[in-house]
Amino acid sequence: MVEESPMNAQERILARIREALKVPAPKPGSHGHGGHGRDVAPAPVFAFQGRPVQVARSWLPPGGSTPQEHLTRFAAASAELKTDFRCVESEAEAHVQLRQIADSEGWARVASHHSPLTDAATTALARPTLFTDGGYVPDELEVCDVGITTCDVLVAQTGSLVVNSRTSGGRALSVLPPHHVVLARKDQLLGDLTDAFQRIEQLHGTHWPSMISLVTGPSRTGDIERILVLGAHGPKKLTVLMW
């Protein structure tokens, strides 16, 4: 194998692209109205007008416009996704619910990370807890019954929530244990994905974490006869506790 410097390969590919792009392409979505035959000049080049996405959001499934609508939509999406969504009155009430789930599922080991919301919750749970901050042994995380994390935002439009590798306990905490519990405040719930990506940019734009994941429901697969099964490789259960 001839070793070539990466710069050469990059320049070579970019040069091919620039050469290819010398001939303009017709306007997108102009089916069958372009040039017929290779010698016929293509249709006039479409002048690309800024960013269409800000407009595009109005064509997407709606996320609601008031906090109450956001809540209703998030609850409806969660029900369809089989996310266990519980909106409660206070943090204390959330801890009560958390203890109930822990008792009914018999959690022996809990995994979490340090943050005001999770610290209060793990203290209230009072069970052996693995904190992933600063590194951990994967085998020890694998045997935990639950991963409890915070999130950046929640999205009413899709029933999703966003975790990241810096402030939600790393990459594996939210996917390796069989149950993922998310603790969130009501003001973290936004309308649609456009809002969510803007908030993520505000939160992390100057210093990006290495991973940001939009989580929509528990892990799922339909690979066998298109029949839905939860818990393919990630968590079988997803619980969102919000107050």
Partner: protein
Amino acid sequence: MSNAAQQFLEAAGTITRNLRHRGLIQTALRKYEVARDRKKSAFNDWSAARQSAAETKWDAINHLDTYLTEFASKIEARGTKVHWCTTGPEARDTIRGIIKDAKAKCVVKSKAMTAEEIHLNEALEKDGFEVVESDLGEFIVQLRKEPPYHIVFPAMHLTRDEISDLFERELGSAPTREPEELTMIARRALRRKYIQADVGITGANFAIAETGMVSITENEGNARLTSALPRVMVTLLGIEKILPKLEDLALFLPLLATAGAGQTVTGYNTLYGGPRQPGESDGPIEWHVVLLDNRRTELLADPEQRDALHCIRCGACLNVCPIFRNVGGHTYGTTYSGPVGSVITPHLRGMQEWKHLSNASSLCGACTEACPVKIDLHHHLLQNRRNAVGDSPSWIERLAWRAHAFAVNTPALYQFGQEVARIVEPLRLRLQGTPLDPVKSWTRTRDLPPVAPESFKEWWRNRR
């Protein structure tokens, strides 16, 4: 006829007679259609959303050099190593080198059609590495030692019983008819692999130029685990995956999920911007992003079909294609099957060898209608037919058309032909269906209309 064309015809002849296969595909795709239509109707305006996506991809592809440079420099700034590869073998050697340098034994992989395209697994296994596919469908077809049947649903051609038999044989599990139990068998088999593996390989759905990130879409969480636990991560993607801005995902994620599987958005849509960053608790120490050309720039050089590079690999055109629904995914003999595969394969692997795929179409246009980024698929199939003939004209065809043109332009000769046809007709009818039939290649699958008892000219003369 090319080898590939011969194989296509043989495979199609067999599978179209297989009623069990047909039943399975029809059931699976009916379920898909119901889900997709329900999710499409949740859009305020599906067709406007498609047009917007087509315009965004048009911008990305027609400024590919700028966006790729931006993507690479942003992602490198966070410590990622970017490799640019012109050909499949180059990309394979690059990844083999990374795995050797990592002194890896076990490699875990999440779904990547680009890896199928360059036959990565075969190359790595030849080197003695164990490569484990972690997506459930891919895991199943890997155990069967066959390529994925469909770019989104790799094992849709198998029943639960076949999968149960396969797991019993290969993994020693107890037989079961429950999809849930079968899924758990795979889950248990793969859990250890994520933790043991030294290298994780993933594909990618989008590359965001603005922020220098790769976006990976999946339902199972296997790509999340593949990119969380191994100490080295490799991501292989085609250069056409570019999107200009992060917020473009607000449009593309719902579009991909709705068109691809009838979901609002897919279970996990994950952005990766670098290897483990200072202060983070896990993630790979090294991350290699391998950008693959593999003749995509040749498709780019054809302005007429450049929009085929807008493809987001949702599989919607496969699902609605009457040809795909009858011949299935394996008949194509290509990495990318269905309408989009028929359009791009001749560009990626040679026009003359693969031109027959342009004829594996009824030109009904269902693919074009289904495409969420409005690729003009069925016209591209027509253009490929034209280009294939233009590049390599057949002298027999040309001669035949010349003769035909001469005959129809010479009234006396044309009339003589009619007379002969009328005399020969009864004899030909008696030969029809026998090996002596002179036009048997036509009459084998089609009707030949009978020669009219009198021509229009004669009819007109008699009526006056």
